[in-house]
C-alpha cells in the first residue's frame, strides 16, 4: 500500500495526476452477451483489473514511464495497460 501511495504521490508531485482508484473484488459482477451475469471476474478469464489511474502525460512515452513505477509490476505476469483518453 505504501509503495502504491509513494508511486502515485510521485506522479501527483509533478502535477500530472488526475484521478485513480484501486478496484476491489467485493461485489464484483460480470455481465456477458445475452445478459448473463456472473459473480466477479474469475473463472475462465485469465486477466483481471486491479485498478486504474488517469495521468496527464505529454506523450505515450511519458505515460509509459509513469506506468513503469507501478508496484504491481513486481509480480511476474502482471501488466499495466496504457490507453489515451484525450487527444492533443
Amino acid at each position: 500500500m505504501k509503495q502504491t501511495m509513494d508511486w502515485i504521490g510521485g506522479i501527483a508531485a509533478q502535477n500530472k495526476y488526475v484521478t485513480g482508484q484501486g478496484l476491489d473484488f467485493d461485489d464484483a459482477r460480470v455481465v456477458w452477451h445475452n445478459n448473463v451475469v456472473t459473480d466477479g471476474p474469475f473463472g475462465e478469464v485469465k486477466e483481471t483489473l486491479g485498478g486504474f489511474i488517469v495521468v496527464r502525460a505529454e506523450s505515450p512515452e511519458e505515460a509509459v514511464e509513469f506506468a513503469k513505477g507501478s508496484p504491481v509490476l513486481q509480480g511476474e505476469g502482471n501488466s499495466v495497460e496504457v490507453r489515451r483518453i484525450i487527444h492533443g
Binding site: K2, D6, I8, G9, A12, A13, Q14, N15, Y17, G20
Partner: protein, 251 residues
C-alpha cells in the same frame, strides 16, 4: 546518527565471529552470551544517556572487558580453551578487534556455518542469526522503551510523506510538492528524493532550488552550490537570501 538496530546488526556478527575465532566454534554459546550482554548494556545505557560519540569503540571496549572477565572466572578456560591457545595467546587476553582480524574471523565463521556436518536448515538459521544479526532486534526492542526516541525522525517522516502523497492527489500545489519531496528524503533517503526532485521542474521557484541544494549537500557539493546560487538569484527578501547563504557556507 545510525539507528541503534542497524548498528547492532552490523556489529553483532563481527563480534561473534571474532569471539568464535578466539575461543573456538564450540564455544559459540558463550560468544553469543557475551555479545548479547554487551548489546543489552548498550541498549540500557544509551537509552538513558544517549548514544556515545563513538558507539563502535564503546561496544568493542565492553566486549573486550567481558571476554577477559569471562576467561578469568570460568573453568572452561582451564579445561578447553588452554589446549587451543598458544603460549603467546595466553599472555595476551585482549581480543584482536582490528579490521583485518574482524574480516578473517567472519570468513572463518562463514566456513564454519556452511560446514557439511551441519544440516542445511540449521545452516540457514545460523547464517541468519550469526551472519545477518537477525534476532538481536528483539533485544533492542525490549530495552529501548521508547523506540520512537531513536526512530522518531524516520517514523514522523514516513507519516508526513503519506500525508503529502494524499494531499497532492486531492489538490496539487508547488509547496506541497516540495514538502513531499523533503519528507521523501527523510523517509527513503536522499538519492530517491533527488531522482524525484529533478522531475518537479519548478524552475521559477527559489525554494525548489534550495531543496535541490539541500538534497545534493553531502552527495555532490558542486551541484549543491549551483542550485543554491540559482536559489539566491531568485530569492526576493533579505531574510531568504541570508538563509541560502548560510547553507552555502556549510558546504
Amino acid at each position: 546518527m545510525q539507528p541503534i538496530q542497524h548498528l547492532f546488526r552490523t556489529e553483532y556478527r563481527k563480534i561473534i565471529s571474532v569471539l568464535c575465532k578466539r575461543f573456538g566454534f564450540a564455544q559459540i554459546k558463550i560468544a553469543e552470551d557475551i555479545a548479547s550482554d554487551t548489546f543489552l548494556a548498550a541498549a540500557q545505557s544509551w537509552g538513558l544517556k544517549g548514544m556515545p560519540a563513538n558507539p563502535v569503540a564503546w561496544l568493542y571496549h565492553v566486549i573486550n572487558n567481558k571476554a577477559i572477565n569471562y576467561l578469568k572466572r570460568h573453568q572452561v578456560f582451564e579445561n578447553k580453551v588452554v589446549k587451543e591457545l598458544s603460549e603467546e595467546e595466553i599472555n595476551t587476553p585482549e581480543l584482536d578487534l582490528s579490521p583485518q582480524n574482524i574480516i578473517d574471523s567472519q570468513l572463518q565463521m562463514m566456513f564454519a556455518i556452511c560446514h557439511p556436518s551441519i544440516p542445511v536448515e540449521a545452516q540457514v538459521g545460523l547464517a541468519l542469526r550469526i551472519l545477518c544479526g537477525f534476532g538481536i532486534e528483539e533485544i533492542a526492542d525490549a530495552f529501548l522503551t521508547n523506540k520512537e526516541t531513536i526512530n522518531k525522525r524516520l517514523y514522523r517522516a514516513e507519516n508526513i510523506l503519506q500525508l503529502y502523497n494524499r494531499l497532492l492527489q486531492i489538490q496539487y500545489s508547488p509547496v506541497a510538492a516540495l514538502n513531499r519531496t523533503y519528507a521523501l528524503a527523510k523517509a527513503n533517503g536522499k538519492q530517491k528524493a533527488i531522482a524525484e526532485a529533478e522531475k518537479l521542474r519548478l524552475n521559477d521557484n527559489q525554494f525548489y532550488f534550495t531543496l535541490l541544494g539541500e538534497l545534493y549537500t553531502g552527495i555532490d557539493n558542486q551541484k549543491a552550490k549551483i542550485h543554491f546560487d540559482t536559489a539566491l538569484s531568485l530569492a526576493k527578501t533579505q531574510n531568504d537570501k541570508q538563509v541560502i547563504q548560510k547553507k552555502i557556507g556549510k558546504l
